[in-house]
Symmetry: D2
Subunit: 261 residues, 4 copies
């Protein structure tokens, strides 16, 4: 089964910063999308902040199984209405993979309900992501760890809710640790946060990082029919109750009236 | 140690609906606050939608250990700025107890990151809340179940994230079930959702329901110092890294520059 | 990909009790295995208590992806050595589906680390399993609930650890509730507990129950390579440490010595 | 309220190894018990492997609120009957704090249901335990991390079930990481695993480590009445069902008969 992935990129530093442009001449989103296409099972398209509706129209999201999100400098420029649209699609079953500085994106903070803050340092130090559960689908094909020669340090406490699973924990040369691969579920949507990916280093060109991205897309893909009415609060009329029931007591709502929200 | 609770009530149906007014002449919030005061350990005040800033000023929240929230008809009238203020206090460590129709309150939906929807029926049917873990602090002093003679049915699926603990599960006369007592944590804040409390029935006058409310306040009280900077993302300068570290590679941020958000 | 399932049956009541024999003339395990084979993706074999090594030889388990377990009257007759063997295979990645009275099987209690007790009543009452998350793979193809006309009541508290996910919650005519579909993970092994299946009723002949069994086998199948050394505690010699390291301080173990266990 | 703690020590290396004896002349259990007594709220006694019934008689456990467990070389010498007794008390509500090499103790493996394996290296390297949630009661009074000058490395994967909460994650000089403080619940019993404590280093003499031990005892203490019948599976006779119920269909059990186990 083909999985339709959409890689969303903020696409600013790639154009404005010479170092980043050298590493990702077509944008980080293009590099990531190309990595997803390897293996053949994943169809990957891209969308960027600068496109109308940030490239995340209803129609586009409708045909997206898994969305990947990379943003950093312009979280505030993402339109709230688009964020709500993405959130609604996640609830319905679209997978979401949040990358690196996307920890502070509007969409991730909304889905977590927490600050999603952390500590950081940009010193080009070494990072080693340890595989916590080698049998997890997201870790398939990896060795016992991934080594990233130069990285931005992200340190604990990472203020997210207790995750469903901790897949990776990172060691940093400077002395910190970070839960660098975490899974969550919101409604029908599976969410994976993966911390590597600072734009001044060639991290998304690394083979084992690309393996994680492909695995994560496969894992986040929920083949269940979309849960269209997940946000509704249907009234179950007394005469349609599973067990025969006689009404008693005072009522607030008239027959057939909608609930308050 | 005294725990300072604040009971927030929407305070509309108690004034506009004769049935509700008869049951709760001073408002549901007053009944709940009085119940909390029994036992002596909890100081309980009240606040309502109609007060300036909905009674939830910075100063008020500052001296609140645990907030209880009952809203139904006017979720949309709660000011977004106040909701953000409450959310920030929860992250810092204020406990939050969300009651009944509060499942659709802005504050609960923001903290959960999900629709928080459910199915419902107002037929005055019988509900039985089964204690899933009798050793949980919130179940202290209860028997094996709580019976509510007339209730509004709330049915699954209840679209919240997988909870930390399932404390109660409800049986309904009409044939449905509901996870009626669930715990969550967001930042330093402990959250308990408790479904009983439809306003047309005398549910908050029931002794065992009042026991749950008092237990929940004690459980949700986090005596840790407030986590004031939970939303910040501090830079750790290279020279302050726990391990001696030499910078290498290109950098995005100049020395001492704040991160993007 | 074909999934190799093995259905283990205690196979006592089917032979000794006329009522059960009428419903399951070839044993419950045969009925379950036949149900798994429908759809074509699952190869299902059976094994019973009475076979040598209970039909669970090393070779048999070696070629098993998912084991289903139904036992009731003779939990104590299952050999401890076989239980340990099954447990080790679960850790390595074999899925395990524990059915009905299997809650008190040695293998389930060992994997949970808790009493796995519950309350029960055999009155042929009605049960309704509500789907908590319709997007979960185990609920694929079901409606909003499964109804079982005659069932044995299993009531809370069900003394298992907090599950990874609650997939089903049951309503009983007599007034109780039960978390009737729960997922767990132990090592690389995915575990699903599913409560329906009392032997005096034709429950495993029901179409929607069979759908759950097939879904559960697919969900429990972990395609990862077997985690053969999961029980080992390898020493990492200082000279093979990921970072250059100089030994210091006193040591308990001589170079290359195995750890204590 | 006074909490009654019991510190169990294997008490072998302290007597047989000169290095360990120098650090812990009265045994590690005595050092730990003395540390618990500071602050005054905790009454701490000790028990050792060499005492009759390993010092864990029914009467002793009966008056124990929280048991701490340090073992290493002689896990196999602990009597299975005593392990079962301890496990039963944990289920009933006794807290359990498992220290360092206790990860391979019979009691911990039984309660987890997993291998509890890990990787290790004894090189006297530096360890830094990062506080993941500073608002957790077990982290009260700590700074952002604990530094241990010389430690035994314990590395991931640590094959325990997904924990309720991750309280500490460790960084090691040699390049590994470890989830060094984890909480679990089994029945009414709260369990905390804490990895520091290799016997050849003076780790339990460290002030911040002692703070963690005291905090953990307070956290693990469950004041609920003991859950005496947690292992029983009571029959609920039809005439005592919460809802009026008429029996139908065939039955396996005669009236009043006990269930199988």
């Amino acid at each position: 089964m083909t999985i339709r992935a959409l890689v969303w990129g903020e696409n600013i530093h790639e154009r404005e910063n010479a170092e980043v442009a050298k590493l990702y001449p077509d944008g980080m989103h293009s590099t990531i999308a190309a990595a997803l296409r390897e293996g053949g099972e994943i169809e990957a398209e891209t969308a960027t902040l600068q496109e109308p509706e940030h490239g995340l129209t209803e129609a586009r999201l409708e045909r997206t199984d898994v969305l990947l999100w990379w943003g950093h400098r312009a979280h505030g420029d993402v339109d709230d209405a688009i964020v709500e649209r993405v959130q609604a699609r996640v609830w319905e079953g679209m997978g979401l993979i949040v990358l690196h500085s996307g920890h502070f994106s509007k969409i991730f903070k909304r889905l977590m309900g927490t600050p999603c803050s952390l500590r950081w340092r940009e010193a080009g130090e070494r990072e080693r992501l340890w595989v916590i559960n080698p049998s997890h689908p997201i870790a398939a094909g990896l060795g016992e760890h991934i080594e990233i020669p130069m990285t931005e340090m992200y340190g604990e406490p990472f203020t997210v809710p207790e995750p469903a699973e901790t897949v990776f924990v990172s060691w940093y040369e400077g002395g910190e640790v970070f839960r660098s691969g975490l899974t969550f579920q919101r409604g029908a949507g599976r969410i994976f946060y993966f911390s590597p990916g600072h734009e001044t280093y060639p991290i998304y060109h690394q083979g084992d990082v690309q393996i994680v991205l492909r695995n994560a897309v496969r894992w986040a893909h929920n083949p269940a029919p979309r849960w269209r009415d997940i946000g509704e609060a249907p009234n179950v009329p007394t005469k349609e109750a599973p067990e025969a029931l006689e009404e008693r007591g005072p009522k607030l709502h008239a027959e057939g009236e909608a609930g308050f929200r």
